[in-house]
Symmetry: C2
Subunit: 111 residues, 2 copies
């Protein structure tokens, strides 16, 4: 077995850590994602509510952001069998866990 | 004086908050910035040390990232009057305050 020399181990640990941070930042970066998560947490949990609340976002952009947030496991979608059919978005546990970090980032940016 | 109706106040509060979060994310997003802050915090506080520690980064990219981090107030530069002259980078209080948030983001990404 190749003995793990210290610099190798340090490199591996660093790469692992950097992928995690960059992965996290990718999931929430861009103009809209963090805001959508906050909006859903505040009850704007439908496409129409989000569209009204987020000045300047197009239907296409909002649809794409919601898909990406769903794919990242931050939100989940429930289709309500009404007429017309309704889609509700909710934060997953991972989405919920992001809220305090966003609050810290927001305070940090005031420093 | 125009009476601040509640939705107006909510909108203003929201815009202010979204600018703060997006501002914070802009300052640390991208492939390298968060990593550079971590590296400097771990003692890789010179261009050559950073270059060695960050596989794949070019001189040009590292130089640009360091300038942007300095402009965002996360790091500061000290020119050491040696021969040849030496430049040391240090985290500002704002840079220091980012470290626990990056640690939280890193853990959050494992969820």
């Amino acid at each position: 077995m190749i003995k793990e020399n210290s610099s190798n181990a340090v490199n591996k640990a660093f790469l692992y850590r950097s992928c995690r941070i960059n992965g996290a930042l990718d999931a929430i970066s861009g103009r809209w994602k963090a805001l959508i998560v906050i909006h859903i947490s505040e009850g704007n949990d439908r496409f129409s509510l989000l569209k009204t609340a987020m000045e300047g976002i197009t239907d296409q952009t909002l649809g794409k952001q919601l898909k990406e947030l769903e794919a990242s496991g931050l939100i989940s979608k429930t289709i309500i069998p009404a007429v017309p059919a309704r889609v509700d978005y909710t934060l997953t546990p991972k989405g919920q866990a992001l809220l305090p970090i966003l609050a810290n980032l927001s305070e940090w940016s005031d420093m």
